[in-house]
């Protein structure tokens, strides 16, 4: 999940306006884009790379590919993600929002079967400052991303961007930014992203940007206890009205987890410094790692 220049990247939906625009930004930044996919434009060239009819065709022609980035509308996301997974691509960055939840579960089942990792859906992508990025993050903005030793895990693209900017403003930089996505059901959970940063030798400290809803932050507490790196967190949604309740079934499965208070308590019990406003993150970071 920590993207490097040596990783080969395929862009599914490369020929669309967004696909083309962000492929150019990724290429300028240093991402090794080896090809694109559009079933109706196979054989053409786009952004100086060949366009294939499917991810499987791309892998057959080009050899193993490490990452795929999907600029694909929700109704076609299942087919595109399955294509990438079955082609043996290990990481599928799923930017698409509003994919039907059953399709997300189908994608996840396929990923489990083939040992692939889904990042997202509804993620803004992943950035390794100074190396490469995949997605729709302003990696190329030097005020927001600089190489450094702070790993950032964020559900939100906009808030993750703000916090990245504050890290750079304080004279620090990021080892990696992992946008795990804003959907309620994600391929890569907070725990899994934290575990990756835990093992990353360049990451010295971790900023966790969470949100109310779901139980990912609570579930991450156990992983955090095993880390020997400081974790600072901001959880968005303290002042938001509670989300909708999923009948009794929701209460049976979630219990009293999911609220701001529950998340904060679980994280603090695991030793995380939880701040009240995003502006406090950098101060805590300097205090803990100076």
């Amino acid at each position: 999940m920590i993207l490097q220049k040596k990783h080969k990247v395929l862009v599914q939906g490369i020929t669309g306006t967004q696909g083309r625009f962000w492929t150019e930004r990724m290429q300028e930044y240093g991402t090794t884009v080896v090809g694109g996919v559009n079933p109706r434009r196979a054989g053409e060239t786009c952004c100086d790379v060949p366009v294939f009819g499917s991810a499987r065709d791309a892998v057959r022609e080009l050899g193993p590919i490490d990452y795929s980035v999907m600029f694909i509308p929700p109704s076609a996301a299942l087919e595109a993600a399955t294509d990438a997974i079955e082609a043996g691509i290990g990481h599928v960055v799923t930017l698409t929002e509003h994919i039907p939840a059953h399709d997300v579960m189908r994608i996840h089942a396929a990923a489990r079967h083939h040992g692939a990792r889904i990042i997202g859906p509804n993620t803004a992508g992943i950035v390794t400052p100074g190396e490469a990025f995949a997605g729709i993050m302003p990696a190329f903005n030097p005020r927001i991303f600089q190489p450094g030793d702070v790993g950032v895990v964020s559900r939100s693209g906009s808030l993750g961007t703000l916090i990245s900017l504050q890290i750079v403003k304080a004279g620090r930089g990021q080892s990696a930014f992992i946008g795990i996505g804003g959907d309620p059901m994600l391929g890569t959970t907070t725990s899994e992203a934290l575990a990756v940063l835990g093992e990353d030798p360049r990451t010295e400290s971790i900023v966790l940007v969470g949100e109310i809803g779901g139980t990912m932050e609570e579930d991450a507490a156990d992983v955090i206890r095993q880390l020997d790196k400081p974790v600072i967190s901001f959880i968005a949604g303290r002042a938001s009205p509670p989300g909708k309740k999923m009948g009794h079934a929701g209460a049976i499965v979630m219990g009293d987890r999911g609220s701001y208070r529950s998340k904060r308590e679980h994280l603090e019990a695991a030793g995380v410094v939880v701040v009240d406003t995003p502006g406090d993150i950098v101060g805590e970071l300097q205090r803990l790692t100076a």
Partner: protein, 375 residues
């Protein structure tokens, strides 16, 4: 989209799952006619909230006279903030036992999850808390199947008659199939009644369909409980904006759900109270003008925070929209900006040259100033 009980039961009935004979009514006269036709009935408030029984929203009636009184009483109720506008009148049936059955998206496991208990009824959440082994949890991965042998094995430890077991297995399989076919987030039957002859009947139904899947579920689109929206929220929907009206007096306009929620959090942190949730991120980032009009249309708003942090969304485009609308509307309320990210330099230039406003470097400072100005 949530379905009310009577709407969910219609979906069950269309799929051949048994429900009591019933009629949906909106007036006392309709209720009386239904009871004259069906005999002794339960009259049940149709509201999108739980605990209606405890609020007096369910009454058993034996005849037309009782039906008229019960209908008049329940139609006058407000349950959990919802005025009762409709009633489901259902034939009373003799129940031997109450079970619980549900299928839902398990967000953590990212698989469908089947739940079943022989202790159905109003206290199922207490059963879950105090006696969790009484609830059978069966994950059914999308690439797996819910075959009879597997279900029988999962139910083996539960207190179920051998005669009942096959029909429970069949019912759960049909519930799971309906959940898959209709792209449901939740399908919950509580109680699932066992009649004296062993027949299973869905006495209540909670059904939620995935809004993102409505494009391929045309027969469910538009059938659920209408969302209650304020006039301004309705305007938001029409403009393709996610807008939620709140009680406070500090207006909020930001991009991205995470940053918008955070702006509200920081308003509360400084002792203020947000007037709304409004994000113009994603594809809506070009809608600054419509968004500003919407926030300002709320007379409660005494000051405004505009907080942009652009990645995909360009802050110069959002700011241009805001400033253009500001020049037309010429609002009198104080506004405080914080603008960072893609297009920031151009956005700052637009604000300084056309509004004479310099954005705050820290969003906390913009918010604190807005909270103070609103007081």
């Amino acid at each position: 989209m949530d379905f009310l009980e009577y709407q969910g039961k219609a979906v069950l009935a269309e799929a051949g799952l048994p429900t009591p004979a019933g009629r949906y009514c909106e007036t006392v006269d309709e209720v009386v006619a239904a009871v004259q036709e069906l005999g002794p009935c339960a009259v049940k408030a149709q509201v999108p909230t739980g605990k209606r029984g405890k609020a007096g929203g369910i009454r058993l009636v034996a005849n037309a006279q009782e039906a008229a009184a019960a209908a008049a009483d329940i139609l006058a109720l407000t349950i959990g903030g919802h005025e009762v506008a409709g009633l489901l009148v259902e034939q009373q049936i003799k129940i031997a036992r109450e079970l619980y059955a549900a299928v839902m998206n398990d967000l953590s496991a990212r698989t469908p999850l089947l739940l079943f208990s022989t202790q159905g009824g109003m206290d199922i959440e207490e059963v879950a808390a105090n006696n969790p082994e009484a609830i059978c949890r069966i994950p059914v991965p999308m690439d797996g199947t819910l075959d009879t042998a597997r279900l029988e094995q999962a139910l083996a430890a539960l207190d179920l008659d051998d005669a009942l077991r096959p029909s429970v297995v069949r019912f759960l399989q049909r519930l799971h199939a309906l959940y898959l076919e209709k792209d449901l987030e939740l399908l919950e039957i509580n109680p699932l009644a066992v009649l004296e002859d062993g027949t299973l009947v869905a006495l209540d139904c909670k059904l939620t369909v995935d809004d993102s899947a409505l494009f391929r579920q045309p027969d469910l689109a538009g059938r659920g409980a209408p969302e209650r929206r304020t006039e301004l929220e309705e305007r938001g929907v029409q403009n393709g904006l996610k807008y939620i009206e709140l009680d406070g007096n500090v207006g909020v306009l930001a991009n991205g759900a995470g940053l918008t929620m955070t702006t509200m959090d920081v308003i509360s942190h400084f002792g203020g109270s947000p007037a709304n949730f409004l994000e113009i991120g994603g594809d809506a980032y070009t809608k600054g003008e419509a968004a500003l009009q919407l926030v300002l249309a709320d007379p409660k708003v005494k000051s405004l925070v505009i907080n942009f942090c652009g990645a995909f969304a360009r802050t110069d485009v959002m700011t241009e929209g805001i400033v253009a609308a500001w020049e037309v509307l010429k609002p009198e309320i104080p506004v405080f900006f914080s603008v960072h990210g893609t297009g920031e330099d151009r956005a700052v230039e637009i604000l300084e040259s056309r509004l004479g406003v310099t954005p705050h470097d820290r969003m906390e400072d913009a918010v604190a100033a807005a909270v103070e100005a609103a007081q």
